[in-house]
C-alpha cells in the first residue's frame, strides 16, 4: 500500500508551503522520505524539493505564449494535455514501493474539481496503482473571520470533496499570521452550536433555516473539523500526525493496525 495526499485550495492559500512543511516533517521527525509532485502547470516558485513537476510536461506559460490563450484557457488546455498523457505521470511514480509517501500539489481552480474530470482521472489512476489517496483542502485562516465565511470555506472544500470522493481533511493555513487572541479553536473543534448561534445574529433571518440545515449536514458528516496549521509552532505537525483522524485518513499508522477509520470504511463500502 502506498500513500498519497492531494493538496488543494484556492490560489495563494499556502498549498506549496503546506507541502514543504509536510516534507520537512517527514524528513526530520518521521525519518521517511516524502516525495512531492507538483501538478500545477501554472506554479511559480515553491519551497519544497520537487520530485516530479508537471511543468516538465507542459506549463501554462508555454501554452499561453504558443497558442495565444488566456490564463484560464491555458490551464484547461494544460490539464487536458496531462489527462491525455497520463502515462507521463505513471512513469514518474512507477518506481514507488510499499509505504512510500507522495504529496501532490494541485492547482486551485475550482472548475478542475467541479467541471473537468482530469483531477478525478489522476485520483483513479493512483488508486489503480495501489495508492491510498486522501484529499487535503487548505484554506487561508485570514479569510475565516466570521462564521459565515467559515461555512463558505467548508462548502467550497465540500465542492472538491463531493467530486473527488476522497477521505478529506481541511487545513487552516497561516494560523501564525493571526492576531493575538484570535479564536480559531472554535472552528478547529467544529463547535457547530457556537457557529450556528453566531450565524443567527450575523446572517439575514431569511437564511436561518438554511444555516441550521447546513450545520446539521456538516456535523453529521463531521465536515466542520479543521486542522490548524501554524508554521511557527513546531508542535503542530506532531499534533497533526498524532490525531487519530489524521493518521487514519492518511494511513500513517495503518501498518500498526490502527483503528477503523473513514478511509477504511470507504474502502469497504467500495
Amino acid at each position: 500500500m502506498k500513500y498519497a495526499q492531494f493538496v488543494m485550495g484556492p490560489a495563494g492559500c499556502g498549498k506549496s508551503t503546506y507541502c514543504a512543511i509536510i516534507q520537512e516533517h517527514f524528513k526530520v521527525a518521521l525519518r521517511r522520505t516524502c516525495r512531492v509532485v507538483n501538478l500545477d502547470p501554472a506554479a511559480e516558485n515553491f519551497a519544497y524539493d520537487c520530485y516530479a513537476d508537471v511543468r516538465d510536461l507542459i506549463s501554462v506559460d508555454d501554452v499561453m505564449e504558443e497558442l495565444d490563450y488566456g490564463p484560464n484557457g491555458g490551464l484547461v488546455y494544460a490539464m487536458e494535455y496531462l489527462s491525455e498523457n497520463m502515462s507521463w505521470l505513471e512513469e514518474q511514480i512507477c518506481d514507488a514501493l510499499d509505504d512510500d509517501y507522495y504529496v501532490f500539489d494541485c492547482p486551485g481552480q475550482i472548475e478542475l474539481y467541479s467541471h473537468l474530470s482530469v483531477m478525478r482521472e489522476v485520483v483513479d489512476m493512483l488508486q489503480n496503482e495501489d495508492f491510498r489517496v486522501a484529499g487535503v483542502y487548505c484554506i487561508d485562516v485570514n479569510f475565516i473571520e466570521d462564521s459565515a465565511k467559515f461555512l463558505s470555506g467548508a462548502l467550497s472544500a465540500l465542492t472538491a470533496m463531493v467530486n473527488l470522493e476522497l477521505p478529506h481533511i481541511n487545513v487552516l493555513t497561516k494560523c501564525d499570521l493571526l492576531p493575538e487572541g484570535a479564536d480559531v479553536e472554535r472552528y478547529v473543534e467544529g463547535d457547530s452550536e457556537a457557529i450556528l448561534s453566531e450565524l443567527r445574529t450575523s446572517m439575514h433571518p431569511r437564511y436561518r433555516k438554511l444555516n441550521v440545515a447546513l450545520g446539521q449536514v456538516l456535523e453529521e458528516y463531521s465536515l466542520v473539523s479543521f486542522v490548524a496549521l501554524n508554521r511557527d509552532d513546531e508542535a503542530w505537525a506532531d499534533e497533526l500526525t498524532s490525531s487519530v483522524a489524521w493518521d487514519g485518513l492518511l494511513g500513517l499508522k495503518r501498518r500498526q493496525g490502527a483503528a477503523r477509520t473513514s478511509s477504511e470504511q470507504n474502502e469497504n463500502s467500495e
Partner: protein, 336 residues
C-alpha cells in the same frame, strides 16, 4: 486627478444604481451574458455602466466604462513581481482594490444618472472569492449601493448530478461569503463560432428546466426521489452524502432565485430582469437595515484591509503606475 471623498458611510443607501456582480466559473459565459444585458437594458432606455475586473481577459464582448486593464497591466505585473498567471491576476486585483475608492468616487459622481452598474469578475472564481481584494470590492459596493450577486452557471455542465451538486455547493459558498441577495443564472451556453453552432445546439436542447424541476421537487420536500434517483445512479459513496446535502439544500433552493437565460439568443432575460427587481426589493427591505447596522464595522474593516494591501506594495516600485486610473476619466468623459 482629484479624488473625491467616498460617500459618507452613514448616510442611507440610495435606491439606484443597482450594482450587479457577475460571478461565475471560467467559460460559464459571464462576459457574453454581460453583453446581452447591456444591450437589452440600453434598448430599454436604461443607463448602464460597466466595470471589468478581469485583468487577464483578451477581448471584451461588451463596451466597458471602467476597465482594470487600463490601470494594471497584468503581463507587466507578472514580469515585475516574477509571478505566474494566477499570482499575476491576484496581485493585479489587489493593486486595483487599493484604488477602489476612486471607482466608488466615479460611481458616486455618476450615480444619479445611472440605473445599473454591471461588474464582471475574473474567471478564476476563487481569486475573487478567496482574496482580500474581492472582499474589499464586495463590501465597499454593498454599503454604497443596492448590490446583487449573479452567479452564472453553465447549464450544459450541470447535467451530471454530482457536478450540479458541487456547483450548487459552490453557489452556497458564495452566498455565505458575500451575504448579498443572490440570483443564479443558468446560462444555456452557446458557442461563439457558427461552425460550432450545430454541435452546440444539441447541448442547448438541454433545458435548464430539468434543473429547476429538481429544485422544485426538493422545494416541495415531498418527492425528492428524482434527484435521489439520479444521484444513486452514480455509484459513488459520496452519493449518500450528496443525498443528505440535497435535503439540506432544500432550504437553499427555497430561498433562491434561479433564472434560465441564454446569453446568445437573449431568451430568459426578461425573467432575469424581474429577478433583479425582486432581489433589489429584498435588498432594500431586509438587507439595508441589516447593513446599516454593520456599516461602521464594514467600513472600518475595508479601510484596514486596504491599508494592509497598500502597505507592502508601496515599498515596491511599480512598473505600471496606478495613475493610469486617469484613463477611467477619459472613458467617462467620452461617455458624456
Amino acid at each position: 486627478m482629484e479624488v473625491e471623498p467616498a460617500p459618507d458611510p452613514l448616510q442611507s443607501i440610495p435606491k439606484s444604481p443597482v450594482v450587479v456582480l457577475m460571478i461565475g466559473m471560467a467559460g460559464s459565459g459571464k462576459s457574453t451574458f454581460m453583453h446581452r444585458m447591456v444591450v437589452r437594458l440600453q434598448s430599454k432606455q436604461k443607463r448602464v455602466y460597466t466595470v471589468n475586473l478581469d485583468p487577464a481577459v483578451r477581448n471584451l464582448a461588451y463596451p466597458v466604462n471602467i476597465d482594470i486593464r487600463d490601470t494594471v497591466n497584468y503581463k507587466e505585473v507578472m514580469k515585475h513581481f516574477g509571478l505566474g498567471p494566477n499570482g499575476g491576476i491576484m496581485t493585479s486585483l489587489n493593486l486595483f482594490a487599493t484604488k477602489f475608492d476612486q471607482v466608488l468616487a466615479i460611481l458616486s459622481r455618476r450615480a444619479e444618472s445611472l440605473d445599473y452598474v454591471l461588474i464582471d469578475t475574473p474567471g478564476q472564481i476563487e481569486v475573487f472569492n478567496w482574496s482580500a481584494s474581492g472582499q474589499i470590492v464586495c463590501d465597499a459596493l454593498a454599503v454604497s449601493y443596492p448590490t446583487l450577486v449573479c452567479y452564472v452557471v453553465d447549464t450544459a455542465r450541470c447535467v451530471k448530478p454530482v457536478t450540479f451538486m458541487s456547483n450548487m455547493l459552490y453557489a452556497c459558498s458564495i452566498l455565505y461569503k458575500t451575504k448579498l441577495p443572490f440570483i443564479i443564472a443558468f446560462n444555456k451556453k452557446l458557442g461563439r463560432g457558427a461552425g460550432e453552432r450545430i454541435k452546440v445546439l444539441r447541448i442547448d436542447v438541454i433545458p435548464h428546466d430539468f434543473l429547476k424541476e429538481w429544485m422544485e421537487e426538493l422545494r416541495r420536500f415531498r418527492d425528492f426521489e428524482k434527484l435521489g434517483d439520479a444521484l444513486s445512479r452514480e455509484t459513488s459513496y459520496v452519493a449518500s452524502l450528496a443525498r443528505s446535502m440535497s435535503l439540506a439544500m432544500e432550504e437553499f433552493y427555497s430561498n433562491l432565485r434561479s433564472v434560465g437565460v441564454s446569453a446568445v439568443t437573449g431568451a430568459g432575460c426578461e425573467d432575469f430582469e424581474k429577478a433583479m427587481v425582486e432581489a433589489c426589493k429584498e435588498f432594500e427591505e431586509s438587507y439595508v437595515p441589516f447593513l446599516l447596522e454593520q456599516r461602521r464595522d464594514l467600513e472600518a474593516k475595508r479601510r484596514a484591509a486596504v491599508e494592509e494591501q497598500a502597505g507592502p506594495e508601496k515599498a515596491v516600485p511599480l512598473s505600471t503606475p496606478i495613475t493610469g486610473l486617469s484613463s477611467m476619466r477619459t472613458i467617462e468623459q467620452t461617455r458624456r
